[in-house]
Each structure stands twice: as structure tokens, then as C-alpha cells.
């Protein structure tokens, strides 16, 4: 039951930390997935709620106070035992502990901290721990938690203060942003201390992340992406997770939906990656005139269609930064292209071997000064790309 309640947290990352020592376990910098559930999402952490009792009454949440659902709690011993036993059998990479707020933010956080402390100090557990910081918990508890766990996260859930006010009246922008600011600050100061003194404690070495619910409130894709960009810049977040809203409550304050909008979630992730790793500005993907991401085509293809003058790019001469803007080229294939071309002129037939998806990329590249026989433009090009995209989405089993 407490797993069913925790499953809507999107993060399962176990990467970015290196921890080991006498006792049980270590962490791997690259992270390890241990299984994949029926929904195709990876399982790497034992993801549970300490309790689903809650004093908050957030409209989107199955565990809100006003819902008549069965309530349960783990004892600290149960969580510790389950974590260690699962870890020993290699079911999991570590623990992801979250909780309903009961009886107060401070006491909830203290209890979670006690579990983590037992795991680290008494069980000598060196596996990965992701702790959800409780909004409104005192800063010194957060400080103690950071020195014990690998990742801390504070969920924003709703992408604007207005939506928070309507849908999660007990949460405030300040009670969410304050702990995020503190975590970001402590990560920096601890890193500086460690530069001077190697034995100084680490603080959440795998960084912090957050989650936004998509589709429960009326914000546009543009607003949400601007918020994410701000969070990456200001708090140096490792990841922002997007979660298509799954209707678990009947509530007039919520946007209506029968099914989670997985396609919109997918597009948000694509745009997030473009902004975070590909050097795109939010405004280049969504602007005032069209604040929503296109559903039929991915955001990179849309950008390429709007900028025909940028193409075709010569595979031999274009810079890496230019190449990663080509639909069908990823970070890795662009890197490979740049490596391989130093040894001689690349031919068309070399490109697929380097990982270039020709179905898309062939419209945007030129090779030894030549483009394919006929390059379509405008609407026709869009149709070509849409066809390739539809195939890709069908493979991912997106409903159309």
C-alpha cells in the first residue's frame, strides 16, 4: 500500500555518487537499474512512503487528508530491514524514502532522519539513499539529512504560485524554495570544505532534483519550461522530473482528464534535454505566439522547420554545437562524427554506422558538398518528419 502511494514519484536515478566502506554496499557513479516494472519504468530504489497519514489536503494527491483511504505506517525497523534484505539480494540499488506529513513537518522529518541514521550508522549501509525533504521542516534537520544521504529532493508539484494556492493550500512557494535554496547552498559550501579537508562530510553528493505535475493545472509548456530553466540555473538541480497528472481524485479545482497525457510529458522531457544539454533557449522552442510544444513533432524537428536557412550543414565542417541541433543527431552521434571526420572525408554510408538516424538527418546534412538528390521543404518536409516521428512513437506505445 505504501508503495502504491509512492509510485507517482518519477525519479529513480541512482547515479552521481561514489560511496563505499566496510559494511554493506557501495554506490556506482553511473547508477544501476535493477528491474523494470510493467509500466516500463526502471526500478532501482525501494520507493516507499514512511506513512500515508497526512495533515495536508492537496487536491491532486490520493493521500490528502479529506480522502477516505486506508492509512498505514512503517516502523523504522521495518524500513531498515526491508532495505538491507532487498539490497543483499541485489533487488535494489538503495532506498527512496518519502512520506505523508504526520503529525507535523518537523516530526515527520525527524522520523525519516532516524531511519536513515540507523541504516548508515548501525547497519553500515553504503547503498544509495534518496530522501524527500518535507516542506516546512526546520533547516538543521535538512542539514543533518544532507550529510547522510546521496540525494535530497523537494517536490514543487505545481508549476505556479497561483496553482499552489488553489490546489495545495498548505504549501507555499517559500516553504518549497527555501529548502531548495538551502540544499543548493550547502552542496556548494561542503564541496569547498572538502577541497581544503578531504575528510569533511559530503552533502547530498548526487545533488538535488524536483518534480512537476503536468496537466493538473492550467500552466503552458512555456511557463513550465521557464520555471525549470530557472531552477537549473538558480539551484543547480540535477534533474527536473515531469509527471503527467493521473486523476486519482474527483475535484472541481483540477483540470479534467481521463488518462494521463503521456505524450505531453514526453515532449516536456525532450524540451528539457534540449535546454539542459543541447544549448537551446526556452524561447527558441516555445514563445509567446506558440506557448505549447507541438504534439505531432518533437521540439528539435520543429525548431529545424522554423529555421531552414540554418541547413544543410556540412558534416565535415560544421561545429559540434551546430551538429547537435540537427534532428536525428544526438550528443553521442555528433561526438562520433566529429571524431571520425578527423581521419578523412565522411561518406553518406558512414553516417548510419556512427549512429546518425538518417530518416531525419538526411534532410539537414550535406556530405562531400552534396545533399541527397531531392530535399523537400516546408509542408512536405514536415510530412516526412511526422511519418518518422509517428513510427518512433508507436514503438514507444504512445496512444494517438
Amino acid at each position: 500500500m505504501l508503495t502504491a502511494a509512492a509510485r507517482y514519484d518519477a525519479s529513480c536515478a541512482s547515479s552521481g555518487s561514489q560511496r563505499s566502506g566496510p559494511g554493506v554496499g557501495n554506490t556506482s557513479v553511473s547508477g544501476i537499474c535493477h528491474s523494470w516494472s510493467e509500466d516500463g519504468r526502471c526500478i532501482s530504489l525501494l520507493k516507499i512512503l514512511m506513512t500515508n497519514h497526512c495533515i495536508f489536503d492537496c487536491a491532486y494527491c490520493a493521500n490528502r487528508r479529506s480522502n477516505d483511504v486506508p492509512r498505514a505506517s512503517f516502523t523504522p525497523e521495518e524500513v531498515v530491514k526491508l532495505t538491507v534484505e532487498f539490497y543483499k539480494r541485489n533487488y535494489i540499488e538503495g532506498l527512496f524514502l518519502s512520506s505523508g506529513i504526520w503529525p507535523s513537518p518537523q516530526e515527520t522529518m525527524e522520523r525519516m532522519l532516524a531511519i536513515v541514521r540507523t541504516l548508515r550508522r548501525e547497519e553500515k549501509f553504503h547503498g544509495y539513499i534518496h530522501l524527500k525533504a518535507i516542506p516546512g521542516a526546520p533547516p538543521d534537520l535538512l542539514h543533518q539529512a544532507g550529510e547522510l544521504v546521496d540525494r535530497l529532493s523537494v517536490n514543487i508539484e505545481l508549476p505556479s504560485e497561483a496553482s499552489l494556492k488553489t490546489l495545495a493550500p498548505q504549501k507555499h512557494k517559500a516553504s518549497i524554495l527555501a529548502p531548495m535554496g538551502q540544499i543548493a547552498q550547502e552542496i556548494v559550501t561542503h564541496k569547498e570544505e572538502r577541497r581544503v579537508l578531504r575528510t569533511a562530510p559530503r552533502f547530498a553528493p548526487a545533488g538535488q532534483s524536483t518534480q512537476l505535475i503536468i496537466g493538473a493545472s492550467p500552466e503552458s509548456d512555456r511557463q513550465i519550461l521557464q520555471l525549470s530553466k530557472g531552477l537549473y540555473d538558480k539551484f543547480d538541480l540535477k534533474r527536473v522530473y515531469y509527471s503527467a497528472y493521473i486523476p486519482v481524485n474527483q475535484d472541481a479545482r483540477l483540470q479534467t482528464a481521463d488518462k494521463p497525457d503521456l505524450l505531453r510529458e514526453h515532449r516536456m522531457y525532450q524540451a528539457d534535454w534540449l535546454v539542459r544539454l543541447y544549448g537551446f533557449e526556452v524561447e527558441q522552442l516555445v514563445d509567446e505566439a506558440s506557448p505549447q510544444l507541438d504534439r505531432e513533432l518533437d521540439p528539435k524537428a520543429m525548431w529545424a522547420l522554423r529555421h531552414p536557412h540554418y541547413f544543410p550543414l556540412d558534416v565535415q565542417r560544421a561545429s559540434y554545437e551546430q551538429l547537435i541541433r540537427v534532428p536525428g543527431l544526438g550528443l553521442r552521434s555528433a561526438r562520433r562524427l566529429v571524431s571520425a571526420r578527423r581521419f578523412g572525408h565522411l561518406r553518406w554510408e558512414d553516417l548510419p554506422r556512427l549512429g546518425v538516424v538518417m530518416k531525419r538527418a538526411r534532410f539537414f546534412l550535406s556530405c562531400t558538398g552534396r545533399t541527397p538528390d531531392r530535399v523537400p521543404a516546408g509542408t512536405e518536409l514536415r510530412q516526412h518528419l511526422a511519418k518518422a516521428e509517428k513510427q518512433a512513437l508507436t514503438q514507444l506505445e504512445f496512444a494517438w
Binding site: T3, V24, R41, I246, R342, E397
Partner: protein
């Protein structure tokens, strides 16, 4: 005419055979383990004895000259059990002489083009099994894990779990190759096993809790069987406690 250099099937044996064949034309070399050689007309197989010390110092030397990637790549070729592993390794070593580590960047070169995907596949399976391997409790109190990997990767997987689960004894069996790794909390040893355990161990209480967790953590509204199979191919399901 193809020159055949036979080795004893151990990593040291493979490396020793590589050393013996260095300098010859890779196109005319094969380096199978004894008993796995393809019969070759007119070929005179040459048996190379394993020389662990020499092999080790050679790897160290390669690592110092070109970086730790190179010994790892040779080992991945060994794990791959590909009939072309020996010839590819020799051709790769020749490229290293010419280009140094830069050779890795020459992605359109036929040798690099064959070698890199092979090494990637081996690496992918090692990484997968670090996650998908399942231990079960057996008598006397110890942990046991069974696997049937495509490649011969018992060695690197065992190294991983020596670091991770060093405090307790365990046994890890490659059912297909009838090889086992045994860790007694101090020493790791590899042995041939005549009889391998049949199927997976019946679930105990912890395994049943794990099954429940596995079922509940999936979000029913997001069911996506294709995606699950893409990440976790069915050939690995046999020993998973959760399925």
C-alpha cells in the same frame, strides 16, 4: 594459410596467445581456446601455455602507455568469446602502434567499426547483470545467484559484487558455461561445476515481499509492455525473483 594459436581458455591464456602471435598478419590468425578450434586444412595449431605473470605485466605496460581503457578492451574481447576476438585484438594492437589511443576515434576504420560495437555489447551485458542478478539465501547460510549471460562475463560481475557484498559469502553460477565464482569473504575463486542448480530457488518471505513491491510500484494507467521488454529482454527473466 591460417595460423592457429591455441590457449587454455583463461584470460591469461588468451593474453599469452595474443603475445605469441604479435607481429603476424591478423587476417591469418585465429586464437581459439583448446577444444573450440575450427579444424583447418594444412594448419599447424600451436599450443601456447598461459603465462599469467607475463600477461599481467604486459597489460600494465599497455595501461601506462595508452591508458586503462586498452586492457579493459582486450578483456572485453576475451569475454565476447567471438571467433574473431583474437584477430580483432591483434589488429587493434597494430592500430595502437600507429595512432596511439587516437585510434579509438577512427570510427570508420573497419577494425574499430567491428571492435567497438562488440565491446559495447559486452559492456552493456555486464552493466545489465549488475542490476539483474538475483541472490537467494541457501543452506549453509550464504547467497547464491544464477545466470545465463550471452557473453562470458562471470569475472567482471564477480568483481563488482566482491566490492558490493564483501561482508558475506556468496556463490555465483554461470549455468550455461558451468562455471562458478565463489567468495568466502576473503578470497574470490573460480571453479568448474559439474552439476548446476536446477532453476531458481523457491521464494522465501523476502522474495514474496519483493514480488508484491514489484507489482504495486507499476502505475496501471501507464502500462507499457514493449518498453519493459526493451529495457529488460525476456531472456533475462528466468532467474528474476519478481517475475
Amino acid at each position: 594459410m591460417v595460423n592457429t594459436y591455441l590457449h587454455d581458455g583463461t584470460p591469461e591464456g588468451f593474453l599469452s596467445a595474443l603475445l605469441a602471435a604479435r607481429g603476424l598478419d591478423p587476417a591469418e590468425i585465429q586464437l581459439p581456446a583448446t577444444g573450440r578450434a575450427e579444424p583447418e586444412l594444412f594448419a599447424v595449431p600451436c599450443e601456447v601455455p598461459a603465462d599469467p605473470e607475463n600477461a599481467r605485466s604486459w597489460l600494465e605496460n599497455l595501461s601506462n602507455r595508452h591508458g586503462p581503457e586498452i586492457p579493459r578492451r582486450l578483456m572485453y574481447l576475451y569475454y565476447s568469446e567471438s571467433p574473431r576476438a583474437g584477430a580483432l585484438a591483434l589488429a587493434y594492437l597494430d592500430l595502437l602502434e600507429t595512432w596511439g589511443v587516437e585510434a579509438d576515434q577512427h570510427l570508420t576504420h573497419p577494425v574499430i567499426r567491428s571492435l567497438m560495437p562488440l565491446c559495447q555489447n559486452v559492456g552493456r551485458e555486464i552493466h545489465r547483470l549488475k542490476g539483474l542478478l538475483r541472490f537467494a539465501e541457501i543452506d549453509p547460510p550464504a547467497l547464491q545467484a544464477l545466470m545465463e549471460p550471452d557473453y562470458n562475463i562471470l569475472l567482471p560481475v564477480a568483481f563488482h559484487f566482491r566490492r558490493r557484498l564483501g561482508a558475506q559469502p556468496w556463490l555465483m553460477v554461470d549455468v550455461r558455461r558451468k562455471r562458478a565464482a565463489h567468495w568466502d569473504t576473503r578470497q574470490l575463486s573460480f571453479v568448474d561445476v559439474a552439476v548446476t542448480p536446477a532453476g531458481r530457488t523457491p521464494p522465501d518471505e523476502v522474495a514474496r515481499l519483493w514480488q508484491t513491491f514489484y507489482r504495486t510500484v507499476a502505475i496501471p494507467d501507464r502500462k507499457n509492455e514493449a518498453l519493459r521488454r526493451q529495457h529488460m529482454p525476456e531472456r533475462y527473466w528466468k532467474y528474476l525473483a519478481e517475475i
